[in-house]
């Protein structure tokens, strides 16, 4: 009896431990399969051809610069929309809103995070893009700007929830100190609370931008899908094509193992590395600030 109990305990503990380590296994597996299917591109197509400005796979032009620039410009636009809205809303929820308002706003922002991206894309096609076409007098409403607006909406919930956590974690004594010195509520927010929560707010912004880079369905539906190099400011109001949209739109039609197939995996690998970079930097900010807080407390 005693023995079988401890054996069961042993097996269960091992199973739980293996589950814990599975996260590492999955990241490794994902990286491995992206490398396996993506790396052949380097010999099949070559670096110089990849760093070209023409994406036209039917005639074997695999220049990924237009796609990179498309992703960059849409994400930049999304950041311009999402950072002020996200940080502002986080400040409002954490510092200004009365309690009942907070209880309404937090679930609503979470709801935005849960809205399927395909629903946002659908509304983008039907409402946002026709409106922008008329309002900005453009030949088409399916532009990088339309994508930026909607992607901004997708990045906002991430920024709000992380930034709000960070603001919430600022000790009450900080604020009381500022009030006692005669600062107004507003001055306290700007000069004490926000600076104290800086690293957390930055983490939220980075994670939000990371989400925007990786978003697929919405951008595929509303950015017009034209793989042209987008380097001027005016490109924001022209159709573009992002890396994610390219994979989603073309993977269904390529033969497994073909050159085109390998290039699409190569683009996926690039996206994976970008998200890895964003997340490692963002999390190192978290770890650092935690250590600092521990030092202060000890």
């Amino acid at each position: 009896m005693e023995k079988s109990l401890s054996l069961r305990e042993f097996i269960i503990t091992r199973l739980i431990q293996a589950s814990g380590y599975s996260a590492i296994l999955f990241v490794a597996l994902i990286f491995f399969f992206l490398l396996r299917e993506g790396l052949p591109t380097l010999s099949e197509v070559g670096v110089t051809s990849l760093l070209n400005v023409r994406w036209y796979p039917i005639e074997d032009y695999f220049g990924i610069l237009p796609l990179l620039s498309g992703s960059l410009i849409v994400t930049l636009g999304a950041a311009l929309v999402a950072v002020p809205l996200g940080v502002g809303t986080a400040v409002y929820i954490s510092e200004i809103a009365p309690r009942w308002m907070r209880e309404i706003l937090k679930p609503l922002v979470e709801l935005l995070g849960g809205l399927p991206s395909v629903v946002l894309g659908f509304l983008g096609i039907l409402i946002v893009s026709p409106f922008l076409r008329v309002f900005l007098d453009l030949p088409t409403g399916l532009t990088a700007f339309t994508g930026s607006l909607l992607l901004g909406g997708i990045a906002v919930p991430t920024i709000v929830s992380v930034a709000e956590d960070a603001l919430d974690a600022v000790p009450r004594a900080f604020r009381e100190g500022a009030w006692a010195l005669g600062a107004t509520h507003w001055q306290t927010i700007w000069r004490v609370t926000l600076p104290a929560a800086k690293s957390g707010v930055l983490t939220g912004v980075m994670l939000g931008i990371g989400r925007a880079i990786g978003e697929t369905m919405t951008v595929m539906m509303v950015t017009g899908n034209a793989p042209v190099l987008a380097v001027k400011l005016g490109s924001l109001f022209h159709p573009v094509r992002t890396m994610t949209a390219t994979i989603a739109a073309e993977m269904g039609e390529v033969a497994n193992g073909s050159q085109h197939y390998h290039v699409l995996f190569f683009i996926g690998m690039t996206l994976f590395l970008i998200s890895l970079l964003v997340n490692v930097i963002a999390s190192s900010v978290i770890f650092q600030s935690k250590k600092r807080a521990e030092r202060v407390l000890s």
Partner: protein, 288 residues
């Protein structure tokens, strides 16, 4: 005099600032509410028994969306089958067993990275590993496995937080009464942490139910005139169907598009509301 002016100025700035920030919050929230109400109103008139229980006809321009509804149910259920046990076990490991060492930090970093990987990259991975390498084909099984790895980080992190919030004294008492570590976890800790874990599970599955990109090449079918009859069949799914009928099919009646968007929204909203209610109820009831 000067001081008075200055102090009035400060308060004007504060008033302006508060108005601005409030405005920002309103600008953020209004479109969310607007979106939901708009789809509810526009899609409401498309809902009918035939729409919910019928098969698509006329190149999907008429009839119902039953295969897509059932497909999304299958995919969500399949995802839960893999990600819930694995996610909760991983959360138990991190909260109860893991020491604060390099290996644990590596696990945490891996989870953060899993959460950040673009959904379409999960699609590629699923295609490479499940569809081609393990030869599962484009199937419900391959798509569910792909989605479950994607939802894992959400489930692990919320479940871990819920388990950690159970007071240490509960464990101490249980162990001192002669229970083993696993008995303590199963009968005391998990029981207390259940509402929090459930919230995380539902939020994770909500994401899976609404995703399109990961199932594009792993299990989604453009059109199926019947229901899938094994886990090795491809399936229609609500999000992919909405994508198809709003971009790929010409002369698509707008009613069907709004109706499909509404059904998908109801799916997601229901899960969201259930999760919120469970969480707030648990918080209100908690006595420690």
């Amino acid at each position: 005099m000067l001081l008075k002016l200055f102090s009035r100025n400060r308060h004007t700035v504060q008033k302006l600032g508060f108005t601005l920030i409030t405005l920002v919050a309103v600008i953020t929230v209004l479109p969310i509410v607007g979106t939901v109400i708009f789809i509810l109103v526009k899609g409401g008139s498309a809902l009918s028994l035939e729409f919910l229980t019928g098969f698509p006809r006329d190149g999907m321009r008429a009839g119902g969306i039953l295969p897509a509804i059932i497909g999304t149910l299958y995919l969500t259920f399949g995802t839960a089958l893999f990600s819930v046990p694995l996610g909760i076990a991983a959360a138990i490991y991190l909260a109860e067993y893991a020491k604060d060492n390099r290996a644990t930090r590596a696990i945490r970093l891996a989870i953060i990275n899993l959460a950040g990987i673009p959904s379409v990259v999960y699609g590629l991975f699923g295609l490479g590993l499940f569809v081609l390498f393990l030869k599962l084909g484009t199937s419900i099984l391959a798509a569910s496995l792909t989605l479950s790895i994607m939802t894992l980080p959400v489930i692990i992190s919320t479940a871990e937080e819920a388990i950690r919030s159970v007071p240490q004294s509960f464990r101490t008492v249980s162990i001192s009464l002669g229970a083993t570590r696993w008995q303590t976890i199963r009968r005391i800790v998990l029981k207390e942490a259940l509402p929090g874990i459930l919230t995380g599970v539902i939020l994770g599955l909500e994401r899976a139910a609404g995703e399109t990109a990961p199932i594009l090449f792993t299990g989604a079918a453009f059109f199926l005139p019947r229901l899938p009859n094994s886990p090795f069949d491809a399936t229609m799914a609500l999000p992919y169907h909405l994508f198809v009928i709003s971009t790929q099919v010409p002369e698509m009646p707008i009613q069907i598009q709004y109706g499909t968007a509404l059904v998908l929204l109801i799916f997601v909203l229901t899960m969201n509301i259930v999760a919120t209610v469970i969480r707030s109820r648990a918080r209100a009831k908690r006595q420690w």
